[in-house]
């Protein structure tokens, strides 16, 4: 029977062409939108994870309470020992130290006196340990405008905007007016080895990036760190696993009565990201639901039109003694076949478009010059395994539902009136 139905679909284009186009379009939009939203949210989440949050983050309780102020006086101590324990307990994760600091960037003149000053937003990461992934994680190699990555202690990267504004060249000295973790004011001097532009106002404003060992010495933070960030070795954020790691760590190490005890938070615990993650999780389901409802209505209408067009055919089949249920089932089988063809075509188009945007992306940087949130400037779609099947749900469901609703009219036809109807 299936072969018979397929022949009918292929030979009678008017029976199949419009539904296939409608299903393909709907499936294409579902697949593409799902891939696009996943890519956009994924990029935002990855960016926050890479730059500030990690997949999980360890701080002292007191630091966590005032995190926005970067209170390095409340930083974690004995970090090497802490990281050793973390590595032993959670071997599926990579642990890195980070120090953030604020203050002023001070450009000296030939006499060592202040020539120019501007606000500093510094980050100290592991740049010098061989095999460290930190530079790539923060996309530093691709963000370098001039110069190179620090290759030895005492070298720093500064914001290209700051360098241009205050005429700072590669090889010049630059000081950071900041304070040690004990509150003393310090003005360590570094050599500029490169300038960077992340393309995000929030990261570029007064940015200075140095190796973690330089920050340790400059800010009197030997074996201390504001934050220890944990990344899954797979590089993919797994919320359930992060939750398990967080809970077991806090149960083992976090003493609520000690404000300097370490406490772990996961990426989803960050309030604004929590919202994004929830949205990302629900986006595919929302897309499918919207298209199932919208396409069902469209395909119901198409089915009704087809039903009207094939009114005589159904009448003859009923008159020949074919059961109403059998005719209804053939309509459903036809719908499944047409839905499958439409889903395959729509999924192929959706995946192809998503793949193109995954590789090329769309650059929104000109529209985001003054955005202060941590958001990527180039948005990309993401082709995930989910895209290969997600389109079949609305494609098959909407087509089948639409035809089932339209085919229901068969049961309302009375055999006694068939010949009268067929004479017309």
């Amino acid at each position: 029977m299936i072969q018979f139905l397929i022949k009918g679909i292929l030979r009678d284009k008017s029976r199949s062409l419009l539904p296939i186009i409608v299903v393909s379009l709907g499936v294409f939009l579902t697949v593409f939108m799902s891939g696009w939203m996943k890519g956009v949210f994924g990029d935002m989440i990855d960016m926050n994870a890479n730059y500030t949050m990690g997949h999980v983050k360890v701080m002292t309780r007191a630091y966590a309470d005032n995190e926005a102020q970067i209170p390095n006086d409340l930083a974690l101590l004995d970090v090497s020992e802490l990281i050793s324990r973390l590595e032993a307990d959670y071997s599926n994760m990579e642990w890195v130290r980070r120090i953030q600091f604020g203050g002023l960037l001070d450009v000296p003149d030939a006499n060592g006196e202040t020539r120019a000053q501007g606000p500093a937003a510094g980050r100290a990461i592991d740049l010098l340990t061989p095999g460290s992934k930190e530079a790539e994680r923060l996309n530093i190699p691709k963000s370098i405008v001039e110069g190179r990555l620090p290759e030895q202690q005492g070298e720093v990267l500064i914001s290209n905007e700051f360098a241009e504004r205050f005429a700072v060249n590669i090889g010049d000295d630059i000081s950071v007016m900041g304070s040690t973790m004990y509150g003393s004011m310090v003005v360590p001097t570094f050599k500029v080895c490169g300038t960077i532009n992340f393309g995000m106002a929030m990261l570029d404003r007064g940015a200075i990036i140095m190796d973690i060992t330089d920050a340790e010495q400059a800010f009197d933070m030997i074996d201390a760190a504001g934050e220890v960030l944990g990344y899954f070795k797979s590089n993919i954020y797994d919320d359930e696993l992060a939750l398990a790691v967080r809970d077991s760590f806090n149960l083992k190490y976090s003493d609520e009565s000690d404000e300097f005890a370490p406490v772990m938070v996961r990426l989803r615990d960050e309030p604004s990201l929590k919202q994004y993650l929830n949205m990302a999780d629900n986006m595919s389901a929302m897309m499918v639901m919207i298209f199932v409802i919208a396409m069902s209505i469209v395909l119901w209408n198409t089915g009704l039109l087809g039903g009207l067009r094939r009114y005589t055919e159904y009448g003859v089949r009923l008159a020949l003694g074919e059961e109403k249920g059998h005719i209804f089932r053939t309509i459903i089988y036809e719908a499944i076949i047409i839905g499958s063809i439409g889903s395959v075509v729509g999924s192929a188009l959706g995946i192809a478009t998503s793949y193109y945007l995954q590789e090329n992306g769309i650059d929104f940087s000109s529209m985001m010059e003054n955005v202060t949130m941590m958001m990527p400037t180039v948005y990309r779609a993401k082709v995930s395994p989910e895209l290969f099947y997600i389109g079949f749900i609305p494609g098959l469901l909407a087509m089948t539902m639409g035809n089932a609703l339209a085919g229901y009219a068969i049961y309302k036809r009375k055999t006694a009136q068939l010949f009268k109807e067929l004479e017309v």
Partner: protein, 244 residues
Amino acid sequence: MTRIITLLLIVSLSIVGKAQTADEIIKKIDDNMSADTRIVESSMTIHGRRNSRTITSVSYTMGTEKSFTEYLSPAREKGTKMLKLDDRLWTYYPANDRIVQISGHMLRQSLMGSDLSYEDMMDDRKLCDVYAPVIESTETIDGHKVFVLKLTAKVDNAAYYSRKLWVDETYFLPVKEELYAKSGQLLKRTVLSDFKQIKGRWYPMKFNFKDVLKQGDGTDWEIISIKFNEEIPDYLFTKAALKQ
């Protein structure tokens, strides 16, 4: 009618008399606290949330415009120098031989992690030049009668819009002080103690500063030695002296 006018006159005079007394009180405080020159060796103990640390320094002050401070200990701070000329402040860091000018909002930052800001350290002006005083009430603290004075800034560049002083009637020195923002928010609290008479003036030898917006137990500032009206060479108040 004559009686009413006489009564109003007496009330008015008594109010004027009280205002003059408030002015007199802060003048007496200024006489105690200010000098042509002052050389102070002091220790500052900063009680942080995690630990306490002590910094010693020697300061040379000339009038209200010039001041030079050299930090003596601990090792990390040793050799750090600060020069204040009028409203400008330079800091010298021996570790990298840099002279850095501190200006703008950085002046409101904490001095060496203490509860004092650079602005607090710089503001040596006499109270009578900056604030208009009013006596609010009198109280008794530790058996001593104290005047409670409310001082409101009469110049635009005052570090604090208003201050409340509890002034000991015997020494004409504040035993307690509260510093407020224009919004009325309490910003800092100071307790002064251990009053000693030096060359005919009373001077507090111990201060406890508390930035109420900061956690921790405040900063104790203790005077080890103090000399008034000694000669200070002019070259000390030059940027060249910072690197010497």
